[in-house]
């Protein structure tokens, strides 16, 4: 009985998140990010020299790569890469560094469900820790509708085996605007709206996680500031 209770509870909760900043020494910013058993590592380098073919005088060029654990990137990985690039292009304040390149690399370490959302969150954290200019930070949340028609937030890999539909949403931290919607499978529009609300609520939790960890990384004074801020606002969308 208690076990089913735990399962019930886990359906509308995010899995446990962990992150480790600057685990790699050769880049400007890197983060090892895990959500449940899914682990990704993201690294940024920039602003750096750009090839003439990619040079733009209006803003910086964004290079984004996603690497699978085994083999060469296939279509699936390319789609994921494109999703990350799209969101990053929206969030990156590219006007800050014209004629430069920003390079973002995401490496999958272990895929145990909702890898799309994890890769996006890791990319955002890497940008934040690498000090690249962003208009806003963003958080991605994955949610599915399982066989019984229940909503499962941030599912594990074995929960995704039998799914009716899967959704990935990304929200920005300032206005709470939708940055990315990825859906798969059949669903009603009412279900879509419900899931968007669930994911939006969950994104607040992720932003809180970002803030807490970055404050911890940068020292205790920032942590205190975050703690006072934490008290003042709790409802999404959050102001930064």
């Amino acid at each position: 009985m208690s076990k089913t209770d735990i399962e019930e509870a886990s359906k509308d909760k995010l899995r446990e998140m962990h992150c480790k900043f600057n685990a790699l020494s050769r880049c400007d910013g890197s983060v090892m990010y895990s959500q449940g058993a899914t682990v990704v590592i993201a690294a940024v380098l920039g602003p750096i020299e750009v090839k003439t073919q990619n040079l733009s005088i209006e803003g910086s060029y964004l290079e984004c790569n996603y690497r699978p654990k085994a083999g060469l990137p296939q279509v699936k990985e390319r789609i994921r890469e494109a999703a990350i690039r799209d969101v990053l292009e929206l969030a990156l304040l590219s006007e800050a560094y014209p004629r430069a390149k920003m390079s973002v690399q995401v490496q999958e370490l272990e895929d145990r469900g909702s890898i799309d959302a994890c890769a996006l969150n890791a990319a955002c954290l890497a940008m934040l820790i690498g000090g690249l200019p962003l208009k806003y930070s963003f958080a991605a949340v994955h949610c599915i509708i399982n066989e019984q028609g229940e909503f499962v937030l941030d599912p594990d890999q074995n929960e995704t085996l039998h799914q009716q539909a899967s959704f990935t949403f990304a929200f920005d931290s300032v206005d709470g605007n939708l940055l990315l919607v990825q859906t798969k499978g059949a669903f009603k529009i009412a279900q879509f709206n419900d899931i968007e609300c669930i994911c939006r609520a969950a994104s607040a939790e992720i932003f809180e996680f970002y803030r807490r960890n970055i404050a911890k990384y940068h020292g205790s004074s920032a942590e205190q500031a975050a703690a006072t801020k934490e008290g003042s606002n709790g409802d999404p969308p959050m102001e930064t």
Binding site: A23, C27, V39, I48, K69, G71, E110
Partner: protein
């Protein structure tokens, strides 16, 4: 704001090179290690079979083994295939200078190919399902996460550990039909090995005769030549890769080879031990194994120093029981003897035979007994206190925590002595 591609890597600029050359002359290293001291090696196994993350200091590498059924080559119709691939793009950010990147990629791939494929370390015939029709194709992908020197060792250790960790599904071949059993139906099978090779890397500088083991990126880029030796656990040479411009004599290479052989043996033992611990962990229910451990500070760490120190202790205890001899006392007598050596400098080195490898075997086994790394019993020779001084005591420095600095000096003078003998 913009980086010059050539100066981006540490060790590429002239002042850095001069600094390292000067440091090597004084027998010091930037990170405080001795010339024959290794960085700690850590293994983290993933939740999937055949996933392993290796870190040597700041160098981090991820290896993933996968397999599928394919057709064999016509030349070797009854053998499976092994494909190794190193990927150094991605998070390691190595592609800044295209030329060095390509060169690195080629040397790494050829090293792995020679170490694992040409030495035939896997029993490929056991991967055959139906002759000339279907065999298992094993693929090892190595992703470099961070490059801080010695990618050679990191990738060979990662490849070996991943291959040893990997399990393939069982298949049956009945009436021209292949049936693959899932994990639930039949237990997965590990790959069969004929031997276990790993590599050890040395850097040689013009300013010093003492090669540096396990170089950092700074040391590697500033080096005049890099020697990579692959040995298997039976101390047989699998690969020798020596290039560069530093004049290297036979003695230096032999000296490297000897310590590389024992290091390789210890490394394979370490990997075995780590695999055992991982298997134990998998037995327990509710244990979150996997690469999440990289993030988890409290997770048990499979590090070389930790595991092998334990082993050293248990083995010296064993030796203690067997011979009734106090192990610490043995160590002390060795170092004392060495101290007298350094002061007098008159006892000649035991004659080293450069032409053949075999006579040294005796010395090796003796050294290893002192180290607490046990050799197979047939090679064992009664230990004498003098045994230790014939060779640089790399292992001893590692296993005995408090060692007076005198043996190290002895090491250096050893090698100098060797060189002068030749000249």
């Amino acid at each position: 704001m913009f980086m010059n591609a050539n100066l981006f890597e540490p060790g590429k600029s002239k002042p850095e090179r001069n600094f390292i050359q000067g440091a090597v002359k004084q027998n010091t290293r930037f990170d405080g290690r001795k010339s024959n001291e290794f960085r700690d090696v850590k293994l983290t196994f993933g939740a999937d079979w055949g996933t392993v993350a290796v870190s040597i200091g700041e160098t981090k590498v991820l290896a993933q083994v996968s397999c599928d059924i394919g057709t064999p080559s016509s030349a070797r119709a009854n053998e499976g295939t092994l494909f190794l691939n190193v990927d150094i793009k991605g998070v390691a950010f190595l592609d800044e200078a295209q030329a060095t990147h390509d060169q690195r990629f080629l040397t790494l791939n050829s090293l792995l190919e020679r170490t694992f494929k040409s030495s035939r370390c896997l029993d490929l015939e056991s991967l055959c399902i139906a002759v000339e029709q279907s065999v298992w194709c094993v693929r090892v992908d190595i992703n470099v996460l961070n490059h801080d020197g010695n990618l050679y060792d990191a990738s060979t250790i990662a490849a070996l550990a991943a291959l040893m960790h990997f399990r393939r599904p069982e298949v049956s071949y009945v009436e021209e039909e292949i049936r693959t059993f899932s994990e639930r139906e039949r237990e997965l099978l590990p790959l069969l090995f004929l031997h276990y090779p790993v590599s050890v890397t040395y850097c040689v500088y013009k300013s010093s005769s003492q090669p540096l083991v396990d170089p950092t990126l700074l040391e590697e880029n500033a080096a005049d030549s890099v020697i990579v030796l692959s040995f298997n656990s039976y101390q047989e040479l699998c690969t020798l890769n020596a290039g560069g411009t530093a004049p290297t004599n036979v003695r230096t290479i032999m000296q490297c080879a000897r310590s590389a052989a024992s290091r390789s043996k210890a490394l394979v033992q370490f990997i075995r031990k780590a695999l055992e611990l991982d298997a134990e962990r998998r037995q327990q229910p509710n244990q979150v194994a996997g690469l999440v451990d990289l993030l988890n500070e409290s997770a048990p760490q499979l590090s070389f120093k930790h595991l092998m120190a334990e082993q050293g202790q248990t083995e010296t205890n064993k030796a203690d029981q067997l011979s009734g001899d106090e192990p610490m006392q043995l160590q002390e007598t060795v170092s004392e003897e060495q101290t007298t050596d350094t002061s007098t400098q008159k006892i000649p080195e035991p004659q080293m035979d450069d032409s053949s490898w075999l006579p040294q075997e005796q010395n090796l086994s003796e050294e290893q007994q002192v180290d607490g790394v046990q050799l197979s019993s047939k090679q064992e020779v009664p230990t004498t206190a003098k045994a230790g001084k014939s060779k640089p005591n790399r292992g001893k420095n590692k296993f005995v925590k408090k060692q007076p600095p005198t043996p190290r000096k002895q090491n250096q003078s050893d090698s100098e002595e060797e060189v002068t003998q030749i000249i």
